[in-house]
């Protein structure tokens, strides 16, 4: 068990392609960190640099008190779980678990004890003498985890371990990984492109985009205060609605609608406004509202996603399935639920100082500027 410090690490491939650009993350002992981002954002490269499967072009990685830039993967005191499990197909489950220990000249009795313990923890005891091909996907995944556990490493590295499982199994394995990690208290670095996995597993998540860190934070902080339009659209399902707007004299203008911000406007001028689908509500009778032209509806069972436009800008609204739908809707949003981003850089714009988070939610006041 150890803390991991990733300090200004870069990966430069042949031809000056920079896959990871000066990334720094401080991982505390026992913390579960999830690296999340779209394909090609450098998250796997970063993980593989920590594992020692890729060389580190710049910067340093420290595990515990040891800089491990030039340390062999086997000596780094880490264990890795791969997406395709990478079990040795010709070895039994027992041998798969024991192989790493045998190579380290662990005494036979201790190997037996550790394998038995891991097998019990993962409930794979009945399969110890089977070959991997006689196991189902979920069982293979457990064996792959077992191979990591028996080593008792300082850190677990997970490279999209659940991507090859079907949706149902993914959910149950997700819970199991979380439980296991809490129980063992081993520092973990987990790579995924699935924002749901990232949200549910992470103590803190790191959102990567184009080799750079967009945001590091606890899942709910990232969800409620996304640092950029990229994070806003990546974290959360459905993605946050982003519409163009204009702030003039303390009020926000979206198309024909004017929304009073109550003296808490972040800037003057054009902004990108973020609205979570679940924050948009149907307006009550007599309430100020925006006209939402319904395009199509996706039924998810527990909720219903309504896609449409406000003033020609596409939005998605999450409504409860009981809500009656009849033609176009009148929607409204609480003012303190609005997110503002710079239209040029995509960075979050904080509200003015007068913003108090526990102030009573102020409902939308709007006038049609006609």
């Amino acid at each position: 068990m150890a803390a991991i410090t990733i300090a200004e690490v870069s990966k430069i491939y042949h031809g000056n392609v920079e896959a990871v650009k000066s990334v720094s993350i401080d991982i505390e002992d026992g913390e579960f960190i999830v690296l999340v981002g779209p394909s090609g954002c450098g998250k796997s490269t970063l993980l593989r640099m920590v594992a020692g499967l890729e060389t580190i072009s710049k910067g340093t990685v420290t595990i515990g008190s040891r800089v491990i830039n030039d340390v062999d993967p086997a000596e780094r005191d880490i264990a890795m779980v791969f997406q395709n499990y990478a079990l040795y197909p010709h070895m039994t489950v027992y041998d798969n678990l024991a192989y790493g220990l045998k190579n380290r000249k662990t005494p036979k009795a201790e190997i037996d004890a550790r394998v038995a313990e891991a097998a019990r923890m993962l409930e794979i005891e009945p399969y110890l003498s089977r070959k991997p091909r006689a196991l189902s996907g979920g069982q293979r995944q457990r064996v792959a985890m077992g191979r990591a556990i028996v080593r008792k490493p300082a850190a677990f590295l997970f490279d999209e371990p659940l991507s090859n499982l079907d949706a149902k199994l993914r959910v149950s394995m997700r819970g199991e990984i979380k439980r296991l990690q809490k129980r063992l208290g081993t520092t973990s670095l987990y790579v995924t492109h699935d924002q749901l996995e990232a949200m549910t597993l992470a103590d803190r998540l790191v959102v990567l985009n184009g080799g750079r860190i967009e945001q590091i934070g606890r899942p709910l902080d990232v969800y409620h205060r996304p640092a950029s339009t990229f994070v806003a659209s990546f974290i959360g399902s459905p993605a946050m609605n982003l519409v163009k707007g204009q702030i003039e004299g303390g009020s926000l203008q979206i198309g024909l609608y004017r929304i009073e911000l109550g003296g808490r406007a972040p800037v003057e001028g054009p902004v990108t406004v973020g609205l979570r689908a679940e924050d948009l509500k149907l307006a009550g009778v007599g309430e100020d509202a925006m006209l939402f032209q319904v395009d199509y509806v996706e039924e998810l069972g527990a909720q219903r996603l309504v896609h449409g436009t406000i003033e020609g800008q596409a939005l998605t609204i999450a409504l409860s399935p009981e809500t009656p739908l009849s033609g176009d809707l009148a929607v409204t949003i609480a003012v303190d639920r609005l997110h503002f981003f710079s239209p040029e850089t995509g960075k979050r714009l904080e509200r003015g100082t007068s913003f108090v988070s526990d102030a009573p939610a102020q409902t939308l006041r709007l006038e049609t500027a006609s």
């Binding site: 594992a51 020692g52 499967l53 062999d72 993967p73 086997a74 880490i78 264990a79 890795m80 791969f82 997406q83 395709n84 499990y85 990478a86 079990l87 040795y88 197909p89 010709h90 070895m91 192989y99 790493g100 190579n103 380290r104 091909r133 191979r147």
Partner: protein, 280 residues
């Protein structure tokens, strides 16, 4: 479901007939006496001299120097076939391992150099090869018989393609598990390649067993004669009024067929397993 009809069996039987009939004829003829064969040609009936002929062939010390028996020749063929097959597998696996897993400059170039040697089979380079072996004083040795034939572009190519299909994660997992290059090769790649090895073993053993030209050139000492050469030797005695021992030639041919057939029968199960069961 498709039900086999009589016509299907007729086709199959025809195939079997084409394949097996010559072998049956050879076997039946070998049980006759040489003079009968000379007079009547090939025969399909049992000649009744099975035991004598095969005993003579296996144990009589023949040749010009009278040192070599059929059994010795069989042994020589076996040494050649096994040495050839095992040597080729070991060598081409190591070459393929280097080509696939070690990043050295011009790896692809070297692979293609190895590959182009397919265009230069033994027959093309037989004189220079002989010259080299002669200079090294390796004529009339098993080393001289086997070693020059070991380098195999075919085997290297097969194993290279196979190693390339082994997922990279396996290597990475092994590295994290503390396995060095040698351990990874022995503990992971070799067991994974078992079926490939069996397949190549069959092909190479039969190829080595049937070698004729190279052993003829390399060995003048009859103690190194192989079965295939022995057959030829028996028919070489057509001097004056001697009748060649046709029966013995046929018997040797039958004997020469047995080991490759057995190898195929034994390894066939592995071979098919390798084709049907994905082990990766």
């Amino acid at each position: 479901m498709y039900r086999t009809k009589i016509f299907d069996h007729v086709i199959l039987l025809f195939g079997v007939f084409i394949m097996v009939a010559p072998v049956v004829v050879a076997f039946m003829t070998s049980t006759h006496e040489a003079a009968d064969i000379h007079r009547n040609g090939l025969s399909l009936t049992w000649g009744g001299h099975f035991v004598e002929t095969y005993q003579t062939v296996l144990t009589r010390e023949g040749g010009f120097t009278g040192k070599i028996t059929g059994f010795n020749m069989m042994l020589n063929s076996m040494i050649l076939g096994l040495g050839f097959a095992v040597g080729k597998i070991v060598l081409s696996m190591l070459a393929a391992y280097a080509l696939v897993y070690f990043r050295f400059p011009l790896a692809t170039f070297f692979f293609w150099v190895i590959f182009t040697t397919l265009l230069l089979p033994l027959e093309v380079r037989i004189l220079p090869s002989y010259e080299v072996m002669n200079t090294l004083k390796l004529t009339n040795t098993y080393t001289g018989l086997i070693v020059p034939l070991l380098a195999s572009a075919t085997g290297t190519f097969y194993f290279r393609q196979f190693f390339k299909s082994v997922p990279d994660e396996l290597l990475e997992a092994a590295r994290i598990d503390g396995a060095g290059p040698f351990k990874f090769f022995i503990d992971v790649l070799v067991p994974l390649s078992r079926t490939m090895m069996a397949a190549i073993f069959i092909i190479m053993f039969v190829y080595g067993w049937n070698q004729y030209l190279w052993p003829t050139l390399m060995t003048t000492d009859e103690g190194f004669f192989t079965l295939v050469r022995g057959i030829k030797q028996i028919l070489l005695v057509w001097v004056g009024s001697n009748i060649p021992d046709y029966n013995e030639a046929f018997a040797l041919a039958i004997l020469a067929m047995l080991p490759p057939v057995m190898i195929v029968v034994i390894f066939q199960r592995w071979f098919i397993k390798g084709l049907t069961e994905s082990d990766k």
